[in-house]
Symmetry: C2
Subunit: 121 residues, 2 copies
DNA sequence: TTTATATACCTAAGTAAATTATGTAATTTA
DNA sequence: TAAATTACATAATTTACTTAGGTATATAAA
């Protein structure tokens, strides 16, 4: 997968889990490749998940009991769909809240320093 | 230093450099401990920088030419003040912009999934 | 038609930025 | 005078990523 990120990838670190779980919370079930494409489209290419990060994460979340899998044959290929467990749903909600709170705090902090642009978060 | 974060630390990862540089851009010069206290107060304890993360970062930024140091004797102790170089000032501005952009993108993305709370970022 | 691109999964090695833990020492407060 | 705060530092470990590969089917373009 090509990566030509608008952001230096460091910011995305730590938000991957939040993105994946919240996406599944909305869509019900998705497969890995679908997730990468959806995020890419919805952010106009600004956030692009790498497969090397995504697939191990999905496996980890499954092992942790946040996700369930379901294999579906499409022709000769097998797609692996993921959906949230109850625990996963709860985790998704709390991670999203956490990010929003964090983002507000950070923006407030940064605006205190650089008063050039107005932000109303 | 005690840490009792409101956020799971993962979110703060990758934003430390942004916080430190933008803080120095505002304040002109600060020393390490002062930075930790300032951020803690200004975020009501929500963001607490660990010394194990901060000091190595400061050293790295100095080595990279973004910061200059100045040692000041306070009684028998020596404080190490940091201030931005020209390159550091530019870096600060671009990192802040980058975070704001990223935060907007993320909030838009997450709001598309969880329509429970309104965010106007 | 065969070649390139897209779809779709996977893992292993290496990196970078943090955490955790520890250390030193001066200064201030209880 | 003991405890907490101020103020610096580093070393070992952890972890989440990047980078770089690998496999294979399906589709579009040349």
């Amino acid at each position: 997968m090509y990566i030509c990120l608008m952001y230096s990838n460091e910011l995305i670190k730590g938000t991957l889990k939040t993105v994946v779980l919240s996406l599944l919370a909305k869509k019900g079930r998705m497969y890995g490749y679908e997730i990468t494409q959806h995020v890419k489209e919805e952010t106009e290419g600004k956030i692009q998940l790498t497969e090397g990060a995504l697939y191990p994460l999905l496996h980890r979340l499954e092992a942790d009991g946040l996700l369930l899998t379901e294999k579906v044959s499409i022709g000769k290929r097998v797609r692996k769909y993921y959906r949230l467990t109850k625990e996963g749903t709860e985790s998704a909600a709390s991670l999203v809240e956490e990010f929003k709170e964090f983002s507000k705090t950070m923006n407030r902090l940064l605006n205190n320093y650089t008063l050039t642009t107005a932000y109303h978060g």
